[in-house]
Symmetry: C2
Amino acid sequence: MTYCLAMRLDEGLLFLSDTRTNAGVDNVSTYRKLHVFRPGDDRLFVLQSAGNLATTQEVLDRITRDLAAGGESLNTVNHLFEAALYLGRLSSEVARNHAATLGANANATFILGGQVGDEAPDILLVYPEGNYIRCSDDRPFLQIGETKYGKAWLDLAVRSHADMATAGKIALSSMAATALANLSVGPPYDLGIYRTGSHELQHARIAGDSPFLSRLVDVWRDHLLAAMHALPEIEPGDIALLEPESRPT
Amino acid sequence: MTYCLAMRLDEGLLFLSDTRTNAGVDNVSTYRKLHVFRPGDDRLFVLQSAGNLATTQEVLDRITRDLAAGGESLNTVNHLFEAALYLGRLSSEVARNHAATLGANANATFILGGQVGDEAPDILLVYPEGNYIRCSDDRPFLQIGETKYGKAWLDLAVRSHADMATAGKIALSSMAATALANLSVGPPYDLGIYRTGSHELQHARIAGDSPFLSRLVDVWRDHLLAAMHALPEIEPGDIALLEPESRPT
């Protein structure tokens, strides 16, 4: 499995991906799932991938080949949504080529983020079928892979209008919570920060044994334990006796 | 969907179930998923159910019919694991009767908890195939249905060796977090508390508009926000520059 997330913030975009891949429990490896394309000075694309690794790699190779060939490519699209449709076409084509043997196991799902020219930067989710959705204005984040364990943290970031630095810490909290709950998600973690108008990505890798991650988990644990001790008492008015069921006797 | 959980504590057992059922998004209803059988003074069984509602109801009806018929029933088993195998046989039979039209959609999964005689009380998960597992000593809780969103809370309760009262609040925290994240899980919530040796269940219903639930969510939100503001800064030593990828050019 995989966990990748992307957030759209006032200052720009934030991307975070784990690197663990597994084909069965005894074939665990480390692969990048955060990929950057900067084919021209006026455009930057970030791809995050979940699903079939072979499909993902062939899609990346085709994107690279198309850029070199000079035909339709990430360098010719005029809008981010056109890049999403282009990526979706490649992805569904590659998956279809292997569907006879793999079926839906050949599928890959992508988050595509970035900026084309002066357009507002955005993040889009590209489905295996080749279509896409944007993130919503109310919940400006996207997740792919093992999305459930860490969702509450992203809701928190959104509700509190976190700035880029805080959003980064919250994204890593969401990632750490997911990795604690699910062995198929694991470090190192690849972080990408895009500031609007820069057409450049700052990216960094955070190791699993990073002191920062330990401190982060400590802070969460301390506050969760504090919350646990502060939980309110159930008052008699809060509960009702559960009536016996009407079952035939 | 559904979310049911059960915890094995030093003092006894704790059960919590939501009540929302849905057959499609426009057929949402409220059904009990926490069921109690006390066929004799020396035994008590709690059933929690997830999956096909029709299968669940037929299983409950068959259990009741068997108790009245006087043959093999929850009143004749000598151990909790025998009750689990009996329940598993009923459940897999009912599902098989409808498999021609429904396939795996006819399946139901159960948590069975309780105490038979002087045996230690326990909780077991009964699979649609009819077999069962106990909860582990290291993580003495079980979940069925929509299990991922609320798992971190149960881990917390286990790690901190919560007593029955605290465990109840943590179970409701796990439930509230799940309901916030997933529309298919919702109130009212049915809580069952079993104290070892009592062979009786205290059970109560907590309404969605209960002041307690509001206070609970407030405490969590306050502490999560406090944790967010206390998160450590990323130091330069914690991150490494992410190298460019080796892609063909």
